[in-house]
Amino acid sequence: MNGDTSKVMSIETAVSRFMSDGAHISIGGFTLNRNPMAAVYEIIRQGFKNLHLYAHSNGTGVDELIGAGCVDKLEIAYAGNGKTAATCIRFRKAVQEGTLKVEDYSNFMMSLRFLAGAMGVPFMPTLSGFGSEITTSWGFSKEMRQADPKIVDDKLVIMDNPFGRWGDASKVLLVPAINPDVTFIHVQKADTMGTCRIDGLIFADTEQAKASRQVVITCEELVDPEALRDYPERNQIPFLHVAAVCHVPYGGYPTAVYRHYDYDATYLRAYADAAKNDEKFKSFQDKHLYGVKSHQAFLDLVGQDRLTAIKADSRTGYAVNMKRG
């Protein structure tokens, strides 16, 4: 019973099966942590274009997708990548050059939009943002919104509190639900049915997964369902929401995966350096992205020394005293 393993497949198969040009997608993680990088690189290699991308503060993955020219439209709260790039470099370039349409929200608003999608309601209320130009400056015009049935007509709605002053609020700001076509999440442990156990911070991965029509999981460890039934309270994404499970060790590299490995500051800095210059960036991509056939080949190129240097310490879950400066 429930021994069905039909969801288990390679990331190459999952990307080609669930992705399409123009798809509305979302990726898990936060800046330089637990981004589904193997999935991101595979999407780029398979050449999907005109994507509509939803993110809160996903740095590394978002910038790679934009840098590769996969993304037309982006709804996001924050495009930075910690100390290596206060503003994501290819993102900045694309916005300044007008090749990327951006709709700005805050982190909480984006998280609430995924929550609304996960809960099956058209919006979530918040008290954030009154007076901010987030409410008045729309990256996607009303006309563009009305012309596209996959984009909600209003960026957000402000209304009077229908319960008077209840909850110490005179007004509420409503942010519309997101239901991506596909969401990619990288986790420490998943079982063959698709149930996931995440260590460390969840960010908004649970809501992103539950809001999505299809969810592709990549995992450091693929286990038998039996292995996750000991403490079901620890499983944040139940299999009901998952379409594909791909076993990809180091699938979050070069971002960090708590208790497994740290971010690779060296790689992220090299990326940031290259990203500042179009030609340098092209050769960087040619070497690290298009020059390899798979995530494993990319890891081979990076080399075992670097993977050893970022190996997580068993006490703290990160690489203690790793050179990061």
């Binding site: 936060f30 800046t31 330089l32 942590n33 637990r34 503060s57 740095g59 996001i76 709260a77 924050y78 495009a79 910690g82 100390k83 290596t84 206060a86 503003t87 993102f91 900045r92 916005v95 300044q96 007008g98 700005d104 805050s106 982190n107 909480f108 608003m109 998280s111 609430l112 929550l115 008290l127 954030s128 943002g129 009154f130 007076g131 901010s132 130009e133 987030i134 400056s137 990256g139 402000i158 110490d168 609020a169 007004k171 509420v172 460390g200 911070l201 960010f203 908004a204 649970t206 960090a256 708590y258 740290d262 971010y263 703290t316 879950g317 990160y318 203690v320 005293n321 990061r324 400066g325």
Partner: protein
């Protein structure tokens, strides 16, 4: 005992740390704001609680995180949840009123409104920044916000290119009229001075200038003028503060440089 030998960055970190009291829940960002939170915890507010928008509460920060999603914030915390829990905790008055936040920005105006989005026209920006992140949320919910700024004319502007995170909006009760609760930036800590918001008018005034800086020099580095009548010289960091900052908070000098 005071020390003459300290950098401006150290001065800023200590000025911010002194704003933090025991029992405060400290919303920390990256960089110098994280350093200030760590400094407060190690110096003057041991029972303050470090809190990250990513969902970590009371982390044991043994190494300085380089981002709020750095695995270094996940170690030994009381809870590792997610963004929704973190922002709910600030939006909720019961816990939110105990929060003090540290923010940064590309531009600030006289009412403590912040721009972290773009310079130039929003639709065709000359310079694009990272965007709000949690900044707009924090400035909307949190009663006490510290802004860290470089004291430069292009940063203290008459009019923001984009108002990302609300301060006192246009002053005179306009914040509350817009639907916001009291809060937003009430202290601005720069490389020259500490500025505060007047509780009546919502306008910025000079509270303290650093040793060797004159109020006039401060005004020269802003597009708008502020009241300097209440200004006094800031108390420099003590030896003890500096020692703890250097030896316990950032021994790798990742932030102090």
């Amino acid at each position: 005992m005071q020390s003459k030998e300290y950098s401006l960055r150290e001065m800023m970190a200590i000025m911010a740390a002194r704003e933090i009291k025991d029992g405060d829940i400290v919303f920390a960002g990256t960089g110098i704001s994280m350093l200030a939170a760590t400094a407060a915890k190690n110096i003057n507010a041991p029972d303050s609680i470090i809190f990250f928008e990513t969902g970590a509460i009371d982390s044991l920060v043994e190494e300085l995180p380089l981002a709020v999603a750095d695995p270094r914030v996940m170690y030994h915390s009381a809870s590792n949840a997610g963004l929704l829990e973190a922002f709910a905790c600030m939006q909720n008055r019961i816990t939110g009123d105990k929060v003090i936040a540290i923010l940064g920005a590309a531009q600030i105006d006289r009412f403590g409104n912040l721009n972290t989005t773009s310079i130039g026209d929003y639709h065709q920006p000359e310079i694009r920044f990272s965007g709000s992140g949690g900044g707009c949320d924090v400035a909307s919910f949190v009663p006490r916000c510290i802004a860290f700024m470089q004291h430069e004319k292009r940063k203290f502007v008459k009019k923001l290119d984009y108002l990302t995170s609300p301060g006192q909006l246009k002053g005179g009760g306009s914040r509350e009229a817009a639907g916001l609760r009291p809060g937003g930036v009430n202290v601005v800590i720069t490389d020259k001075a500490v500025m505060r918001m007047d509780s009546e008018t919502g306008e910025m005034y000079l509270d303290a200038y650093y040793s060797g800086v004159t109020p006039e020099e401060i005004l020269d580095n802003m597009q708008f003028s502020v009241d300097i009548a209440r200004a006094r010289e800031a108390e420099p960091p003590t030896e003890k503060e500096l020692k703890t900052l250097r030896e316990k908070c950032d021994p790798q000098r990742l932030i102090l440089g």
